[in-house]
């Protein structure tokens, strides 16, 4: 069953063209890792999927709803596609628990008590139950990112989008975030992960997409693409990120 379907999606900002004719479909349960040089349009693709950016042409269907159909409630798509950002973007005036409870309270209209219970379960799941009362400024980067994952999960999305979730973290903190993501994948969550963590792509991902200059150049099994890069471009890219 398809959860994301891009049909000839193009995106430009003013005069700069960022995505060209992207055709891509993603099935429920897939873990898709997206790599590509800086500026190749990876973040833009994710942002188009949860409609933080409007596509310029083509069609994009998320959970059966087209982003260009005026009858679609954009907020519905956003609730189904959770997003985790490179810079965490936790709400600084709220504690970890309140950050996680925020979506359920405002969007799913849960009572404060139910939302806090749900939030506590999710914080436990990401290993941060004892940090529930801390403010983001009192948490390490890795802890903040795990709270951010819990916050996105709290609205019960069907799909999770990760935009370089570990690239703002020191090497010793990347592992704790990646292992949370790994267990999420093992539970069957559909995930699109922009990340240059090749170990994650090889061990957890079941699809690797290589983007360059706004186009999808390769789309295949991580192992095959990694072991035998079909083009010079991908080979150079993989060598550079080592």
């Amino acid at each position: 069953m398809k959860i994301v379907e891009c049909k000839k999606v193009c995106k430009s900002f003013d005069k700069t063209d960022v995505l060209f004719d992207i055709d891509l479909s993603i099935n429920v349960g897939e873990v898709v890792v997206v790599v590509g040089p800086s500026g190749s349009g990876k973040s833009t693709l994710l942002r188009c999927i949860n409609v933080l950016e409007k596509i310029t042409s083509g069609d994009l269907i998320v959970d059966g709803k087209s982003v260009i159909d005026p009858k679609t409630d954009i907020r519905h798509i956003r609730q189904e596609a959770g997003m985790v950002f490179q810079q965490f973007n936790l709400f600084p005036q709220l504690t970890a628990l309140e950050n996680v409870a925020f979506g359920p309270r405002k969007v799913r209209k849960l009572s404060k008590k139910d939302a806090h219970e749900l939030a506590m379960d999710l914080l436990t799941k990401v290993g941060l139950a004892e940090r529930a009362g801390h403010y983001p400024s009192q948490l390490s980067g890795g802890q903040q990112q795990r709270v951010a994952i819990a916050r996105a999960l709290a609205v019960k999305p069907k799909l999770m989008l990760f935009d370089e979730p570990t690239s703002a973290l020191d090497p010793e903190l990347k592992g704790e975030v990646l292992s949370v993501m790994r267990s999420l994948a093992e539970e069957g969550m559909t995930m699109i992960v922009v990340s240059h963590e090749m170990n994650f792509a090889l061990n957890v991902g079941n699809r690797l997409i290589f983007m360059d200059e706004g186009r999808i150049i390769h789309d295949g099994s991580p192992r095959d693409l990694y072991d035998n890069p079909p083009t010079e471009r991908l080979r150079d890219f993989l060598r550079n990120i080592q």
Partner: protein, 218 residues
């Protein structure tokens, strides 16, 4: 030098009349200014059509002209131009509101624009509406950032009420002026008036400091 403390005591009742008016103008003027400034500042920050443009013109005119001239204009010129007549006190409140509103608009605009775009994205990505993001994310955060510059503006507003002496409002400075005209005791009068202003601004500054401390500035 001969400072007659006794004389100061006898003037206190009249000075307190002035203090009452000064506080009245400050409170109502600043409340009006907050309302005007919020609307204008949000219109500027969110580029709301039409309001955005009128807001920019408003801020431009008010920041570009002295408050004394604004008071003279409202009190003396408006009645001639449009037949709007109001008491000195009404004019004072109105002018302070309009004047403070322009500066507060800039404070609001700056605070709203200083909020990290990523937080707005995070709110939207959770499925909140734009209005919810403004109310629950941008609002509370920018409010905290507004407190220090707003406090500064409140103190300026309080002191600016002394300029309404030019339209004959019996606020504190005006009362000082009148006492001096009949007693010629400049030293006592202006020392007392200055000290009273200092007390008022200090109380205001301390309460704002307290509020600031209660709300961690993020």
């Amino acid at each position: 030098m001969d400072f007659q403390f006794q004389f100061v005591l006898t003037t206190l009742p009249q000075l307190m009349q002035g203090v009452k008016l000064t506080i009245y103008i400050t409170v109502y003027g600043l409340l009006g200014g907050i309302g005007l400034g919020m609307i204008t500042g949000l219109a500027l920050a969110y580029k709301i059509p039409i309001l955005n443009l009128t807001g920019a013109v408003y801020v431009w005119i008010i920041r570009g002209t002295p408050i004394v001239v604004q008071a003279m204009f409202v009190y003396f010129a408006l009645p001639l131009a449009m037949g709007v007549r109001m008491s000195g006190l009404q004019a004072a409140v109105l002018v302070l509101a309009i004047n403070a509103g322009a500066y507060i608009a800039e404070i609001v605009r700056g605070a709203v624009l200083s909020i990290n775009k990523g937080l707005v994205d995070a709110g939207l990505a959770l499925g909140l509406s734009r209005i919810q993001v403004t109310a629950f994310v941008v609002g509370p955060l920018s409010f905290r950032r507004m407190i220090p510059p707003l406090g500064n503006q409140f103190i300026i507003g309080l002191k600016d009420t002394s300029l309404f002496i030019v339209i004959g409002v019996g606020e504190l400075t005006r009362q000082g002026q009148e006492i001096m005209a009949s007693s010629f005791r400049a030293l006592e009068v202006w020392t007392a008036v200055a000290l009273i202003y200092l007390v008022l601004t200090t109380v205001l500054a301390l309460s704002l400091r307290w509020l600031e401390r209660r709300m961690k500035i993020l």
